[in-house]
């Protein structure tokens, strides 16, 4: 399958990319590992692709004291082997290592994966779990969006048509566990669970359990109230709305969420 025709422009800077995004039906291209499959399937038909893949100043991981800053064009493979991530926010490395396969991780970017906002995807669920702050830039300048407000629906996020995601800011965590259930290697999660000790509490996030990544709030509350991990995990599917599809029924997904949450909490 060959994508339909589009115009192509390579942005030399973030400013230029934002300007080019002003054109009707323009779309950003980073690693292309979410977008190119959509183009081939004709699910997306942009008139212009604005290639930001060479903006290497958006490819970094920095220890900024109270947080770790990750440039949006950092590739999954970079996150897997980054020493700052390994030491300060291991959950991100664990989830990045579960994205697709090695070839996908060599090209795919963390920002692209988050903006694509697939509810079954690994890194959006992790950003939500970590209460990450997403830094966007548009014609009006920079704005910070909490992960809670960022994921607005399936494959939809809070970015405006002329905004791009610049940076992700995640907290330093003491420990984290990411567990993903797939039907076959390299697949999207049927259900995945992210758990992390953030500050004094335990945060738990879910992929594949609704229209967006979700937090297992009932589980978190039970833990805060002193419940044992197994008892708290029994509440993991509360308030979720899992789909039924070829990978599993809603009931099966709820079961997976409870089991994976228990396993994640026991390992945390």
């Amino acid at each position: 399958m060959i994508p339909p025709a589009f115009d192509y422009a390579r942005a030399g800077s973030v400013g230029e990319a934002i300007e080019l995004l002003g054109r009707e039906d323009a779309k950003l291209l980073a690693g292309g590992h979410s977008l190119i499959p959509l183009l081939r399937m004709r699910f997306a038909r942009p008139s212009l692709l604005v290639d930001i893949g060479r903006l290497d100043d958006l490819r970094y991981v920095r220890d900024e004291g109270d947080a770790v800053a990750i440039g949006a064009l950092t590739r999954h493979a970079d996150l897997v082997r980054d020493p700052v991530i390994a030491q300060q926010c291991i959950l991100v490395a664990q989830a990045a290592g579960e994205v697709g396969d090695p070839q996908v991780r060599h090209r795919g970017t963390v920002g692209g994966s988050i903006v694509h906002a697939d509810p079954a995807s690994d890194l959006p669920a992790v950003m939500l779990t970590l209460d990450a702050v997403l830094v966007a830039e548009g014609p009006a300048g920079e704005r910070r969006i909490s992960a809670e407000d960022f994921f607005t629906g399936p494959f939809d996020c809070a970015l405006g048509p002329q905004e791009l995601l610049r940076e992700l800011r995640v907290p330093k965590i003491e420990s984290g566990v990411y567990l993903k259930h797939v039907r076959r290697a390299q697949d999207w999660a049927t259900v995945a669970v992210a758990a992390a000790r953030v500050g004094d509490g335990v945060n738990v996030g879910l992929a594949g359990m609704g229209a967006t990544p979700l937090r297992a709030r009932a589980t978190e509350q039970a833990l805060a109230d002193g419940a044992a991990p197994a008892d708290a995990a029994a509440l993991a599917a509360e308030g979720t709305d899992p789909p039924s599809d070829i990978s599993g029924s809603a009931e099966y997904r709820s079961h997976l969420a409870r089991v994976l949450t228990r396993q994640a909490l026991e390992r945390l």
């Binding site: 994508p3 589009f6 292309g32 090695p102 070839q103």
Partner: protein, 153 residues
């Protein structure tokens, strides 16, 4: 759009449509048909090549994205009539049946061994998760990669 790529050590200047996928550029514009198109959905890994030394699925990269890069295909591995150690190991360990997936597996294995020169069996299996073989040749493929890594079968 004008692009300039180094493919298997040779520079190519070409004019491509922005929508041209790297795999079709390699196969149809350069005539390098060793790289196969299997699933066309970034799943099977048959189209794996190296871009700047790292394995990628060339059905999911636009030729314009690879502008200025160094690309290595299966045709570029053997040097001076000698098979690359991974190719030699695939031959010796009978790591193929029909051979369709083989170029992709060899390129994925070359990339894996560059990143991890002595992988464990688990690391080999995980490192090749992006490639599918429909003749059930995985046992011998893993054995070949082990052998190429010097670990021996």
């Amino acid at each position: 759009m004008k692009v300039s790529l180094t493919v298997n050590g040779q520079q190519h200047d070409a004019d491509v449509e922005p929508r041209t996928l790297l795999v079709y550029f390699l196969r149809e514009q350069l005539g390098l048909k060793g790289t196969n198109v299997g699933c066309d959905t970034s799943s099977c890994g048959s189209c794996t090549v190296l871009v700047d030394g790292e394995s990628v699925k060339s059905c999911t990269v636009l030729a314009v994205q690879a502008d200025g890069s160094e690309v290595t295909t299966i045709e570029g591995l053997a040097a001076g009539g000698e098979l690359h150690p991974v190719q030699q190991a695939f031959h010796e360990q009978h790591a193929l049946q029909c051979g369709f997936c083989t170029p992709g597996f060899v390129m994925a294995a070359v990339s894996l061994l560059q990143e991890n020169p002595s992988p464990s069996e688990d690391e080999i299996r995980m490192g090749l998760e992006g490639n599918l073989c429909r003749c059930t040749g995985y046992e011998n493929i893993v054995r070949a990669v082990k052998s190429a890594a010097g670990a021996g079968p």
